[in-house]
Amino acid sequence: MQNFLPHTDAERQAMLSVIGVEHIDALFEDIPASLREGITYHSLPTKGLSEPELQDAISRWAARNQGKEMACFLGGGAYNRFIPSAIHNLAARSEFYTAYTPYQPEIAQGTLQVTYEFQTMICELTGMDVANASVYDGASAVTEAALMALRLTKKKRILVARTLHPDYRQVLKTYLKGLSMVELVEFEPADARCFAASDERVACVILQVPDYLGSVENPIPIRDFCKASGALMVVSADPVSLGLLKAPGDYGADIVTGDIQPLGNHLSYGGPYGGYIACKSQYLRQLPGRLVGRTTDKNGTVCYTLTLQTREQHIRREKATSNICTNQALNVLKATVYLTLLGPSGLKRVAEASVRQAHTLAERLLTMPGLRRYQPEKPFFNEFVIQLPGPVQPILRQMEQRGILAGIDLARFYPEIENGLLVTCTELTTSEQIDRYVTAMKVALQAAQGAELPKGSMEAACS
């Protein structure tokens, strides 16, 4: 079996003689014999699979997932959005797909210019001056922003909204654990008292707009608090929402972060996505990750290059702004093509359609007895929280049986919201799906009221 290895045995032998050894083992004699003895990979197939078998394996994995056949009302930081076909065609091009990091600008202008264009688009969406070439995802983006704030303000207290994506909060917590004396304080944005008085100890306040529960809150009190406290205002935002909503820079944010998945990237069970960080230019030197700058070459041709690399680990090592090296460049390419194809009006339309479908569904659900919206006074974007009259899981199972992924059970993340279900619509949500959702919910609620659930669905509920 040749697999993807090019050498024939004859060639291997010829190369060994050039090297001046008889047997390939001679090249491994520096490895202690005790390590080499009896080494096996017993759990792997001994021989590689052939390509037809590999095609078959991956098709079978895909067939064992049920998501794509169902109407998807899941969101919470990952959105089932329309992906223009041109994106795949371009991203699949070997010149983008199989290129390395553009360290050699002479032969990497493609990736470099795309990144520069991406940086600019992110600045336009966020109202910031500069943006980087990506970090891992929305969670690491907001975490890196917090670290920036710590370095910039030299203070040790971070206030984070409880309505920031729960995974992002967890990542933030995990990263900050390593740093001594840093204090991470969660606040409830609805609680006006939090920001009544300024607090000089605060390095930054982190909020999400629209927040994890879909609400669009007034950020001005927090902005004023930050101003008064000398703290940085960090906003995490779904970039699609910024097609319609005010750029955070316009209401005073200092650093804006988020995840570019909704910009033409597949859901793919959670990744790869990509984090963006944008900030005001005075914070540039503390921005982590790669940056592409525009310059000229020796002939005066406009060109692009990685720049300000002294912020990065390969130059500054333990003093770098971050340890990030490999980033999410291909996701950046997809996002850049997405924003190019949609343009400002397309992005706005996608945002508007999502908002409209969410409100249509919410209005219909809220006419149903037993369903309430959590914090009904708050305006929301394309997601909202419904409180069910009873436990969420059995209702989800019922809805699944009708081909609907009805939402995210908030029990794990927000136990204080009783029987809370986060429901998401996007521009791909159809009216027919909304009808089906409403009907299925009625049936599910009735079944739930009918005390005992049928046996099958109870079992499923435990899995």
Binding site: N3, P6, H7, E11, V18, D30, I31, S43, P45, E51, Q55, I58, W61, A62, N65, Q66, C72, L90, S94, F96, Y97, T98, A99, P102, E106, I107, A108, G110, A131, A139, D167, K173, T174, S180, V216, L245, D259, Y269, G270, G271, L284, L291, G293, T295, T301, T305, R316, R317, I324, T326, N327, T340, L341, L342, G343, P344, S345, K348, H359, P379
Partner: protein, 493 residues
């Protein structure tokens, strides 16, 4: 003859009203969304995103793409980066909506395909590395390092040894090692490498103390040599009560030869985008799984994919876990691709991968040592280092950067340069196993031709490259007056 004009910036192509994709029309009576949102939160002005037709967009990005070098086009002898060929069968991923359209919050019982991929890959990676448990969550090698260090920290806290605060790292290490240790709040203690670029046991002994949490090593080291004293190193580190971290960037050299766990390491990361060929995509995405011994397993990030004999599920019930480092579960697509890669080779195939990777490196070394100084001229593993020592004798300006820029004119990507830092003027060459002898021979011929040029026509080399789309980019100006945003070209910085 027209001069080489590169592609305009996309914003220069923009025309108000143009659009690249058609979206559904709003229905006639569609309600305005303004009613649902606070007026003061709505945008006043549109973002200046480009407005172009689909054809204009296609041409723009297609032309840009053609300015890139890529492994599918030609050789990429980038040391430490393992630029191997990615089998195209992995691209099937993108065509399978069962994988691409799976939302991460889909319940376990409806995500068995994805979970099977994750679980199986965890098992295989544990086997290949010899460790007991694996997390696939880190997005890249550097995040894997960070997770590893976090676990080390959590472990020492759990046994009441929070006084340990130092991490020992050789000066040959990749920059991410000290950066990751520092992000974790550790003090980095750098030790000088020995004469062969390997660990100097005396220096190590001197640095080890009851403050040491861990020693981070790359093995084969970044000079491409196996740490022959690794068992002794491991003994010393563990005797000092510390743990040993394995930077898996060079795993491609030792598959089928030695398992990192057997070498005495306690924790490691794997760069699937190096060893297991998930492609680099112009800089990412990657996937940086961490593998650990039983002792460290309780600290792995949540969730971990598990199998109860019937169904796969995500296990969050890990009270000692360090928590999460990524939203959801990691770069799933990269996991699927890595798993396909491992399946494509099988156990025997992976062993052959390492054998051929090492064979190719030694072949290049043997063929080039007449013309270039080899930093450590002995049997190497998957990579080796050349320097400009011979060339600078002809012209003192002939530094490494000049040599490798010239290589572009021959169609090759330059090797990794000026790394590791311990070898001045390093050119680090890693051919990988997917390059044929014919390609290596052509590369050798090019290198020899350049050596010849250095002798006879150094100016030609010093002014290189001559045939690339742009030449000698002004990086100083780029850094001095950073222009990072088309609409705000000048930044105070």
């Amino acid at each position: 003859m027209t001069t080489c004009v590169l592609e305009p910036c996309i914003f220069e192509l923009s025309r108000a009203g143009a659009q690249g994709v058609s979206l559904p029309q709003d229905e006639e009576d569609a309600p305005s969304v303004a009613q649902w949102l606070p007026q003061e939160m709505l945008r006043d002005a549109s973002p200046r995103l480009p407005e172009v037709s689909q054809l204009e967009a296609m041409r723009h990005f297609l032309r840009l793409s053609q300015l890139n070098h890529c492994i599918d086009k030609d050789f990429y002898p980038l040391g430490s980066c393992t630029m191997k060929y990615n089998p195209k069968v992995c691209d099937l991923y993108g065509a399978l909506e069962g994988l691409t359209r799976q939302h991460p919050m889909t319940p376990n019982h409806l995500s068995q395909g994805s979970l099977q991929v994750m679980y199986t890959l965890q098992q295989y990676l544990a086997d290949i590395t010899g460790f007991d448990a694996v997390s696939l969550q880190p997005a890249a090698g550097a995040q894997g390092e960070l997770v590893g260090m976090m676990m080390v920290k959590a472990y020492f806290e759990s046994i009441g040894q929070s006084h340990r605060t130092e991490v020992i790292i050789p000066d040959s290490a990749h920059g991410t090692n000290p950066a990751s240790a520092a992000m974790c709040g550790f003090k980095v203690v750098e030790i000088k490498s020995g004469k062969n670029g390997l660990i100097d046991l005396d220096k190590l002994k001197a640095a080890l103390s009851d403050k040491t949490t861990a020693v981070m090593l790359t093995n084969p080291s970044t000079v491409g040599l196996f740490e022959k004293d690794i068992l002794e190193v491991s003994r010393l580190v563990h005797e000092a009560g510390a743990l040993l971290y394995y930077d898996g960037a060079n795993l491609n050299a030792v598959m089928g030869q030695a398992k990192p766990a057997s070498m005495g390491f306690d924790v490691m990361h794997i760069n699937t985008h190096k060893t297991f060929a998930t492609p680099h995509g112009g800089g990412g995405p990657g996937c940086g799984p961490v593998a650990v011994t039983k002792r460290l397993a309780p600290f792995l990030p949540v969730p971990v994919a598990e199998f109860d004999g019937e169904k796969y599920f995500l296990d969050y019930e890990r009270p000692q876990s360090i928590g999460k480092v990524k939203a959801f579960y990691g770069n799933f697509e990269m996991m699927a691709r890595a798993l396909l890669y491992i399946l494509a080779y099988g156990a025997e195939g992976l062993a052959q991968v390492s054998r051929d990777a090492v064979l190719n490196a030694n072949y290049l070394r043997a063929c080039l040592k007449g013309d270039y100084q080899v930093a450590f001229d002995q049997i190497c593993k998957h990579e080796f280092i050349l320097t400009n020592a011979k060339q600078k004798a002809f012209d003192s300006h002939l530094n490494t950067m000049a040599l490798v820029k010239r290589l572009m004119d021959y169609g090759y990507h330059p090797p990794t340069v000026y790394f590791p830092l311990i070898v001045p003027e390093a050119m680090m060459i890693e051919p990988t196993e997917t390059e044929s002898k014919a390609t290596l021979d052509q590369f050798i011929a090019a290198m020899k031709a350049i050596a010849e040029e250095c002798r006879n026509n150094p100016q030609l080399v010093l002014e290189a490259p001559h045939t690339t789309p742009v030449q000698r980019v002004d990086e100083v100006a780029a850094a001095r007056n950073p222009d990072l945003n088309y609409f705000k070209p000048s930044q105070s910085g």
